[in-house]
């Protein structure tokens, strides 16, 4: 039997983490969640994840800062960036820093799930 794919979900909104956890677990993924940037960074450093979904604006560390730190430490986790900030600069910076995708909040859950499926299978 194959191991379920592991996904890290980090968002300071408990609603978002609960929502994504329920949807992802229901789809057969193994989910770990974090409610701030530091926790997300540490979990990513210590765990073996197939994908991370990071909120851009989190207390402790921003999503972009987490990507930076992981890269410096040689941790290569594909990241889908989530953000409620609707400005092109954030999208461009995220993709420049190596995020594989960017999703604006509020999001369409089936669409986000499809993006996750695509990234995890890839």
């Amino acid at each position: 039997m194959t191991q379920p794919k592991r996904i890290l979900v980090a968002d300071d909104s408990p609603t978002i983490t609960t929502l994504l956890r329920s949807a992802l677990e229901g789809a057969g993924y193994e989910v770990s969640s974090a409610i701030d940037g530091v926790e997300a960074y540490e979990k990513g450093r210590d765990g073996d994840f197939d994908l991370a979904i990071l909120d851009q604006l989190m207390p402790g560390l921003l999503g972009l800062e987490i990507i930076d730190r992981w890269h410096k430490e040689g941790i290569e986790i594909p990241v889908i960036m989530l953000s409620g900030v609707d400005d092109d600069r954030t999208v461009i910076d995220s993709l420049d820093k190596g995020a594989v995708d960017f999703v604006r909040k509020p999001f369409r859950l089936p669409e986000l799930m499809a993006r996750i499926r695509h990234r995890v299978q890839a």
Partner: protein
């Protein structure tokens, strides 16, 4: 002796009473914390339940009537509604409708409950944004409690319930300033549908009322409907109320229509310095270079504020910087001063370089010379 004993007993009783009150307060707080913890736990489990319904089309997890009446369920519903977009909203609407969530909150809003509960119902209805709540929200626009009226208007704005526009606009004249401002925010949610009711309100009331029409004009500017420009110009021409005229000029500037430029240019010669100053700023916002020569003339205005605004407006015009450099050579020292200030503000680099003693001579020679000659280049 008896007196001393009485005092001792009184002190003991007061102390005992305080201790009992303190213990009661601590217990109440503990109970409240426990209730909130349980509420949050239920809310989290409801978010999880609703998420499964939203994510999986054929989710079989049941939502019972008891759940639907739980305030934690309502909070979870609002949380999920604010987190997702698109077709999931239809799933949530279906859950709301099947479990009578709106009806339950409408009944609470209409009940003689204390304010807290009714306000919670009004906020919930505003957040859920379901059209079936419109009648109750319309009734609540006349509620005795201002916060409930605000939430009712917000809810109607969220569902774009256009029959509410006239009622909300009409209340501009009788509401407190705080409620009026919140109503103004709501009206922007309706977009251009609110333009004509707002214009009609200003037209009818601007001769005998100030605050309502002023805010209505500001709301019109926020809606950004350029169809409002012509009627606002008519109001500007007709009104003798300085505050309303100022609000009209500001609205015209924010709407940014070149059609307003001739009337605003005429305002540059108004006997009221406030109107001249506001007209200069509005012309700068519109940015039509047709007004540049008139603004250059206003650099010689007797009022300092008008000169300052005119120079700032010129700086925003296409080729305005060149006009300001020309004004530096003006024989009128006030005009040259205003131009120098606007040039400095337009390029903070210039003043920074002057302060550092490294003037950018090639680009800013006339300004550097002017600033040095007038002693303004000193740090």
């Amino acid at each position: 002796m008896a007196g001393i004993e009485f005092v001792q007993i009184a002190v003991l009783v007061a102390f005992g009473f305080n201790v009992v009150a303190l213990v009661a307060l601590i217990m109440l707080k503990a109970v409240h914390r426990r209730r909130m913890r349980l509420h949050d736990r239920r809310r989290e489990s409801y978010v999880s339940l609703l998420s499964r319904h939203v994510a999986f089309e054929h989710c079989t997890d049941r939502i019972t009537p008891e759940m639907a009446e739980d305030p934690a369920f309502l909070d979870a519903l609002i949380d999920v509604r604010n987190a997702v977009a698109g077709p999931e909203m239809a799933t949530l609407r279906e859950i709301v409708s099947r479990h009578g969530v709106v009806e339950h909150q409408m009944a609470r809003l209409r009940s003689p409950f204390p304010l807290g509960r009714r306000l919670r119902a009004a906020v919930a209805l505003a957040e859920i944004g379901d059209e079936t709540a419109a009648p109750a929200l319309m009734e609540s626009l006349d509620d005795r409690e201002p916060e409930i009226r605000i939430q009712a208007a917000r809810g109607l704005g969220r569902i774009r319930w256009t029959p509410a526009i006239d009622r909300i606009v009409w209340r501009f004249g009788i509401e407190t300033p705080w409620v009026r401002v919140r109503f103004s925010d709501t009206l922007t949610m309706f977009g251009t549908k609110a333009t004509w009711p707002l214009l009609a309100y200003v037209r009818i009331n601007h001769k005998h009322e100030t605050e309502g029409p002023k805010l209505a004009l500001r709301t019109l500017a926020q809606i950004e409907d350029r169809d409002a420009v012509k009627p606002i110009l008519e109001i500007l021409a007709e009104s003798r109320n300085l505050e309303i005229q100022i609000a009209a000029i500001e609205a015209l500037g924010e709407l940014g229509s070149p059609g307003a430029v001739p009337a605003l240019s005429e305002m540059l010669t108004s006997p009221h310095w406030e109107l001249r100053a506001k007209a200069a700023t509005a012309l700068g916002s519109i940015g039509d270079e047709w007004a540049t020569p008139l603004l250059v003339s206003s650099l010689r205005d007797p009022d300092w504020w008008v000169r300052r605004n005119s120079a700032a407006a010129i700086a925003r015009m296409p080729a305005g910087i060149e006009s300001l450099y020309e004004a530096l050579e003006s024989s009128d020292p006030f005009a040259a001063d205003a131009a120098a200030e606007a040039l400095t503000n337009a390029g903070e680099l210039i003043s920074a370089r002057l302060r550092a003693g490294e003037p950018d001579e090639e680009a800013n020679e006339p300004l550097v010379a002017y600033m040095s000659a007038t002693g303004k280049a000193e740090p």
